[in-house]
Amino acid sequence: MEEEGIVKKFCYMNRKAPYGTIYALESLEVVLIAAAFDQDISLVFADDGVYQLTKNQDTDGIGMKNFSKTYSALGDYDIKKIYVEKESLEERGLTTDDLQALKYEDEDDDWAEKDSLFVVGRDELSKIINEQDVVLSF
């Protein structure tokens, strides 16, 4: 699936809460396909997008599929740069304890389990976004 060795910085920008609209789910579907293309992938969760990563989602009462477990599988797809904006969490009264712990296994370090979720402040996030070649918004 490699495109003649071109590697671009792809950023997937998530700013919407899950379930109220389909964007979170269909964004995740793109990311899972994108993982096969050997590009430099970053996921960003800002504004209400941070709610996509909460623990303990239970959709039994709304008749919709709970897709939140898929985020914890992203490490298996070699997606290891997941940025959550600190200010967005704070504004919503959330902390990292409210979020799933996302990990990946580092093949260059004897498959040691490492964090793939990074809480970053707006200045750092601003820098990350500005470095991207392709930004896909959902």
Binding site: M1, E3, F10, E29, V30, V134, L136, F138
Partner: protein
Amino acid sequence: MKFGIVINEGPYTHQASDSALQFVKSALAKGHEIFRIFFYHDGVNNGTSLGVPPQDDRNLPNEWSELAEKNGLDLVVCVAAAQRRGMLDEDEMKRHGKDSNNLVKGFRISGLGQLIEAGIQSDRLVTFGD
């Protein structure tokens, strides 16, 4: 320059498809190349052949179809998003045992890989949505 265009909303409810159409026409007039237009989320509904808008209104699926024919544009409807929303071409119709299909001429149904490829191959990817 080579452009990839992503349209995330259907026709009429949101301005996304109209804005994208104006953008693409301008880009073509300026001599740019449109590598691909990818329809995702409700954007897949831009490919319907069954819309009958009032005569004094624009027909967006037809406008895309005609622009594509004139300029050799690659209009791709995401298969996963299309299946959810009942957009089928003839192959998909047969495969899923449905009795009709509704994709306007000039559109084709394909996978999300086509979106990633558009991101890789285009100099700029521009997304229109809600």
